[in-house]
């Protein structure tokens, strides 16, 4: 489900079934590296959308969580911890963080929930048909990780 009014009624009726939050993480900095940041953000948004399509009944996709590229990884990790605590209080058992940022890869084993680090592919140069196929293939590779996360009773 998405964070939009048309999905919220369904969410409220079936809250007990939606136990996972899906949060894309987007780095922002208006520096020389801007293009790379935008490309990473675009890619991660597309993969997140595809994941929402696949598992829409069990997860709630939140708007992207932005952070400054200048922030330290520890700070970002702590912030994700705060969010995870809040989700846990609301009865959610899982969080899936989506990122392409190489700097965040080291958080993989530190943050609560599942941090999926997906290397960014330059799909903006691809033909539109081939683009959606690439995204879907990428998604297929992530499925086992998500299933493994769900096998844990409670990961937060």
């Amino acid at each position: 489900m998405r964070f939009q009014t048309s999905d919220i009624d369904t969410y409220q009726q079936s809250k007990a079934y939606v136990d996972t939050m899906l949060v894309p993480l987007l780095p922002v900095a208006l520096d020389d590296d801007l293009r790379q940041k935008v490309a990473m953000g675009e890619y991660i948004s597309l993969v997140t959308m595809e994941m929402e399509k696949q598992f829409r009944g069990r997860l709630m996709q939140l708007p992207p969580l932005m952070y400054l590229s200048s922030e330290s990884v520890t700070e970002i990790g702590e912030r994700l911890g705060v969010w995870a605590d809040a989700f846990k209080k609301d009865g959610k058992n899982h969080v899936i963080w989506m990122t392409s940022d190489p700097a965040l890869k080291q958080l993989e084993n530190q943050v609560p929930g599942l941090l999926l680090w997906i290397p960014h592919l330059p799909i903006e140069h691809l033909d539109p048909n081939y683009r959606s196929k690439t995204i879907r293939d990428q998604m297929q590779q992530l499925l086992p990780d998500v299933m493994a996360e769900w096998r844990k009773e409670d990961s937060l």
């Binding site: 489900m1 369904t10 079936s14 079934y17 939606v18 399509k53 696949q54 598992f55 829409r56 009944g57 069990r58 959606s132 499925l143 299933m147 769900w150």
Partner: protein
């Protein structure tokens, strides 16, 4: 030459003329309104167009996933959408099912559950469906998978929009 000798009096003639002209004017106003009111029905017809899925010879008794592309017009923008369709042959009959779980809309897979290789499986809440789309009692879904209308022309399968099965 008194008025009495005419079949139609001047007064009657004017009345008829006014009624006739008024009728046309009324119709001219009401017709577009009716056209607008009926428009959704005509539109629904257009959206019910059949789209090419695959060649009939590609189908087997085992359900396979085929991708279906179709165009959706939204205002002035035409978007190409892509859906997955699970299709197989049941005797001579073509069965095409939508992969959208009838519980909360996740995507189901055929044989996704090792313990039930002949069923559709929803990974979200472990909903299961028989090969014909019937939901397995005791799992979350409460109605069968939606089924596409199919049509075969020159060995090619065309499908419409998915419809609920009774």
């Amino acid at each position: 030459m008194s008025e009495k000798n005419h079949n139609v009096s001047r007064r009657q003639f004017l009345t008829y003329t006014l009624m006739g002209v008024g009728g046309f004017m009324g119709a001219a106003m009401v017709m577009p309104m009716v056209r607008f009111a009926v428009d959704p029905i005509l539109q629904a017809d257009a959206a019910g167009d059949m789209n090419e899925l695959t060649a009939l010879s590609d189908l087997t008794e085992e359900p396979q996933a085929f991708s279906l592309t179709y165009e959706v017009e939204d205002g002035w923008v035409t978007q190409t959408m892509e859906d997955t369709v699970w299709a197989y042959l049941s005797g001579d009959e073509v069965v095409a099912l939508s992969p959208t779980c009838t519980h909360l809309g996740c995507t189901v897979n055929f044989g996704g559950d090792e313990n039930n290789p002949d069923q559709f499986f929803c990974p979200c809440h472990f909903g299961r469906f028989e090969i014909d789309g019937t939901n397995v009692p005791g799992t979350p879904p409460t109605e069968p998978l939606h089924r596409y209308d199919t049509e075969i022309r020159d060995g090619v399968i065309y499908v419409g929009r998915p419809q609920p099965q009774q």
